[in-house]
Symmetry: C2
Subunit: 234 residues, 2 copies
Amino acid sequence: MIGGGFIKTLVVVGHPQIEDSSTQQFLKEAANLPDVIWHPVTSFAVNVAAEQALIKQADRLVLQFPLYWYSAPAILKNWLDQVLTRHFVYPAAMGGLVGKELGIAVSLGSPAKNFAAGAGEDFSISQIMIPFQALANKTQMTFLPTFIIDQFGYQSDDTKANLLIDYQRYLTQERLGHFDDKTNWLIGQLTDLITTVPEEKRQRLTLILEEIKNNQATLDDLQMNIKMIHDMED
Amino acid sequence: MIGGGFIKTLVVVGHPQIEDSSTQQFLKEAANLPDVIWHPVTSFAVNVAAEQALIKQADRLVLQFPLYWYSAPAILKNWLDQVLTRHFVYPAAMGGLVGKELGIAVSLGSPAKNFAAGAGEDFSISQIMIPFQALANKTQMTFLPTFIIDQFGYQSDDTKANLLIDYQRYLTQERLGHFDDKTNWLIGQLTDLITTVPEEKRQRLTLILEEIKNNQATLDDLQMNIKMIHDMED
């Protein structure tokens, strides 16, 4: 249980040289969390029934890969072609993917800011991900905002630390993209952590936790006030 | 030489069971034309140098496949991942794909009319093909309109006959999408055919050819007149 939620997440990693990728090794350590299954695809020979069973027990399916020619590498496409059989996903109302969430964690070799009309890549990441969005729609999954790993090799340590937190949230946070949820997720993480530390540190961490909760309550009040002012203006 | 042009076309067919596909067998017969190379990808083991040499001698590259989860099947994606190496395609100004044309011939299992906002598939074929368009842009190829094979198994013989002509044009016609060019392409085909038939049929076919050419000239005149009338109105 992470951040107050009960999300079970399956991360299907498709990378032809996963052991040699510093990006994937970094993300692998970050994904070492309860209720997260790190599942690298290492062969074109797929055990369809076993993979389908893995998917069934997950609430969130994250396809993770480096962008190869504006799509997933062949090893991951093969996994999709093999595992998502007609029989497994249809009829959609009773299909094996209905009600789950589909996330894409994509690492880029060229800068993320280039993915825009008129920039170096012409198309946005959202446009490039349309085939995956179409898959989600067809199988009655909720398509999540794509998680972008922007030229990992060029990032500073600070940026990498932020990436780690954001990635852990992407894998485990119940609702994504809501303003309050980052703090609530951190409160959940800290609450879990406190139960595991020695007694002498626990008191100090509990004080920090209370402080964060108070700040969040203050922030909530402020947002409520701003909303009321706006409502009166309308 | 087809229809007055000198287009050399490489058709890369990615289908996991190509021999069992009546669509692909039909298209294979239709593609039996001079200057067209029919090139099925039958293995995940790719001879990169040989494939790159095949591409180099082509003016038009057609990727042909059934739509699997809104993208190419893994066997074709693997071919792209392996063959289109950095070294081969960059720097783009001197790359192995510069100035060529990229076409997509895609066969659909659900009706083409469903590929639209609000219809069964939500997205258009143009949207779904964005990764291929992005590939064409990046490597300085011209992206052609996608050739759609709409539920081949359900088509009438008449529709299939039209599909055959349109497909042959897609592979061989110098400029695609121009109104006049279909007739000019047919005139070229007939001109070629006449040289190969026995003397007694040649005269008759030559008369038919003249008739078609006259019709085309009349059509050109009519279009010119309509254009002049419009220009005067403006």
